[in-house]
């Protein structure tokens, strides 16, 4: 079943073009997936997140939507058409909707397909190295058809002034289809960059499946702010895997926002490969109705003198469910590690549920590692405070919910990105 599925996908999706090394990688990935199949609830990593609805559906390949104007994409581009933006519609790169001609010294942005044609060596050095096919069946599946997606290369010493935006949008034609974008972001030495990935839809009630993989390299002494916004249809499925490799003296900050999906899972792995690395992971998820949103993060402290700081917050309504799993691995040689992890959940309804699990595995003795998880309701005294200032009860609830979310959004350094995230939260809360 699984093998047929993988073969079928490969047969229909993959342009047979590409450098010689690529086809063996795809084949190995396909074989890997055929051997493992989809994970089940017996798999510890997927205990609370059943993937049955994905595994039991026969997913089609999406046809590229013929008619789509820039106007319809306007709500998704943060009001900044001048940013370098790659647009993918139903998984397919759309040059006509993208803007890649904004000159920034040291920046190369293109579709992955074009990067494979132009500079296969650079792609080969990284593709599949940071998100290996044995890391998860979904990465294997994605790799088996690898070819569509975005490629961002920031040359050594480049200081980008604008973010690069990768937009994955689905249309009604995507109904019943699987999209498997593959992104590669390489920030070379002493460079500074910001990358945004947006997974959005023009059809809020359609079912489709996105299985995205992003590999990120943050080279020595470089700085990257990576924002990931998941606003899929609430009838859709989203599996995202982000694997980050950090080198000496680098700074990586991630902000992930998850709002969409009937079931959505994001796995974020960061490997701290050398000394004096800083990793900041911030997350925010909103669930309602019957949604299930799962965030699995893993921080690998392989070397000494590194710092990781993680704050994920969730706002749950209806009968929805959230899963948070935060792993921190500290190897014996990773002395002087400073790691702090926090997961806070706000329940707006009595029927919403959270499974939160910190998982610290520390093998060094001279470290500072803490974690904390909370699940609770809005503070009665804070509600009274707002009401005593004239704010009606329902509005006070929204205001305090917004405050809860905005506190973590405040960690985003780029103003337009932060403001857009705040706007999205206000919109989600029914306007403020």
């Amino acid at each position: 079943m699984s093998q047929t599925f993988a073969q079928d996908l490969q047969a229909r999706h993959t342009p047979r073009l590409g450098p010689v090394w690529l086809e063996p990688l795809r084949r190995a990935a396909m074989e890997r997936f055929a051997a493992t199949g989809f994970p089940t609830s017996k798999d510890e990593e997927w205990r609370f997140t059943p993937v049955g609805p994905i595994a039991q559906t026969v997913w089609q390949s999406a046809p590229p939507a013929a008619d789509l104007s820039r106007t319809r994409l306007a709500p998704f581009i943060f009001g900044h058409p001048e940013w370098n933006t790659l647009v993918f519609v139903n998984g397919f790169y759309r040059e006509d909707l993208s803007s890649t001609n904004q000159v920034e010294a040291g920046l190369h942005v293109s579709s992955l397909a074009e990067a494979l044609r132009r500079d296969g060596g650079l792609v080969e050095a990284h593709l599949g190295r940071h998100a290996p096919i044995n890391a998860s069946p979904f990465i294997a599946l994605n790799t088996s058809v690898v070819g569509q997606g975005g490629f961002v290369h920031v040359a050594a010493n480049a200081q980008l002034t604008r973010p690069v935006h990768l937009v994955f949008v689905t249309t009604k034609e995507a109904t019943g289809s699987v999209m498997q974008p593959r992104n590669l972001v390489v920030v070379e030495r002493n460079a500074r960059a910001a990358v945004i990935e947006s997974f959005v839809t023009l059809v809020d009630d359609r079912s489709y499946w996105t299985n995205a993989v992003t590999e990120v390299v943050v080279a020595q002494n470089s700085w990257l702010e990576h924002t990931r916004i998941q606003r899929e249809s609430e009838a859709a499925y989203h599996i995202g895997s982000t694997h980050v490799d950090q080198q000496r003296d680098s700074h990586y900050r991630s902000f992930t926002m998850a709002m969409g999906g009937a079931m959505a899972r994001h796995t974020l792995h960061t490997r701290l490969n050398d000394e004096n690395v800083e990793t900041l992971l911030y997350g925010l998820y909103f669930t309602r109705g019957e949604q299930l949103v799962d965030n699995h993060t893993a921080i690998f402290h392989d070397q000494p003198n590194c710092r990781s700081w993680e704050v994920y917050k969730g706002v749950l309504d209806g009968r929805s469910r959230a899963v948070f799993n935060g792993k921190v691995f500290v190897r014996p040689e990773a002395q002087k590690t400073d790691a702090k992890q926090t997961n806070r959940n706000l329940l707006l309804s009595d029927s919403a549920r959270v499974n939160t699990k910190p998982q610290l595995e520390i093998f060094a003795d001279d470290v500072k590692c803490t974690h904390g998880a909370t699940v609770g309701k809005l503070d009665d005294i804070a509600l009274f405070y707002a009401r005593s200032r004239g704010v009606p009860a329902a509005e006070a609830q929204r205001l305090l919910t917004y405050a809860f979310a905005a506190e973590v959004i405040a960690e985003v350094t780029l103003d337009p990105v932060r403001e857009e995230l705040e706007r999205l939260v206000r919109e989600r809360l029914g306007g403020l």
Binding site: F384, A386, R387, V391, P392, A393, L399, A406
Partner: protein, 255 residues
């Protein structure tokens, strides 16, 4: 004599099983400043919070009229919209939203409730500029999260700033003087004095006479064990300062 703004009659209130207010009578008229004093645990903060509608307290008897309306029937926000303001003893920290955002939201809700147009952030900033002067603050404080990481003194000043913006008719200040150094105390007191109007009234809940050096009350009431055991003019506060509360508690205990 002006009309009563606030009339508290036979008010009893409990927190859980514990009765805290055991029959309070108090009338406050427009233009007046009343001081409610008393030892810790006498019920003075509870009185302030019951007037504002704090959900932790249950009123078991008596009534509270505000401009002739039954205040106890009103939601906390309706009280605020009608012009009641409580300066909290422990102002609440709200990380995540700025002081300006919060205060404008409150200001606009009150305007909306009164059938007035909401103001946009530019107009609100103009209004703020003038109000900030009352508490001797620059604009920076408005971009910080509400009370978040504020010092004790800053929190109290922020309460006075909110009061200045919301312009209540009845302001109840719950131990606004506690924990203030002398400069902060002066700023807070000057703020309260600057906001006094013939049509407004202020109730100062305080443990110490110190604040009353700066804000001169028309009436002073002493609470003990949930009752007002003595009322008088401003000289009563001085007497309390000198003699403490014990003599009154003993006096009150005599049947």
């Amino acid at each position: 004599m002006s009309k009563p703004l606030l009339e508290v009659v036979g008010l009893r209130a409990s927190a859980g099983e514990k009765e805290i207010l055991r029959g309070i009578d108090l009338t406050v008229r427009a233009g007046e400043v009343h001081a409610v004093m008393g030892p810790n645990g006498s019920g003075k903060s509870t009185l302030a919070q019951v007037i504002a509608g704090h959900p932790a307290y249950e009123v078991t008897a008596g009534r509270v009229l505000y401009e002739g309306r039954d205040l106890l029937e009103m939601e906390p926000e309706e009280r605020a919209q009608a012009g009641v303001f409580l300066a909290f003893q422990y102002p609440v920290e709200i990380p995540g939203i700025s002081n300006a955002y919060f205060l404008r939201a409150a200001y606009n809700e009150i305007r909306k409730a009164r059938g007035l147009e909401e103001v946009d952030s530019m107009d609100f900033l103009d209004l703020l500029e003038e109000k900030l002067r009352i508490v001797e603050w620059g604009p920076d404080i408005m971009s910080r999260a509400v009370n978040s990481g504020f010092s004790g003194g800053e929190k109290k000043r922020n309460e006075i700033l909110q009061m200045a913006v919301l312009e209540p008719k009845l302001a109840v200040l719950d131990e606004t003087d506690s924990g203030l150094d002398i400069d902060a105390l002066r700023i807070v007191a000057d703020g309260v004095n600057a906001l006094r109007r013939p049509e407004n009234a202020t109730v100062l809940v305080t443990h110490y006479q110190r604040l009353l050096n700066y804000i001169v009350p028309d009436r002073v009431h002493v609470l003990s064990n949930g009752r007002i055991v003595k009322s008088g003019g401003k000289e009563l506060a001085l007497e309390l300062e000198e003699r403490g509360y014990e003599w009154l508690e003993q006096e009150a205990a005599v049947p």
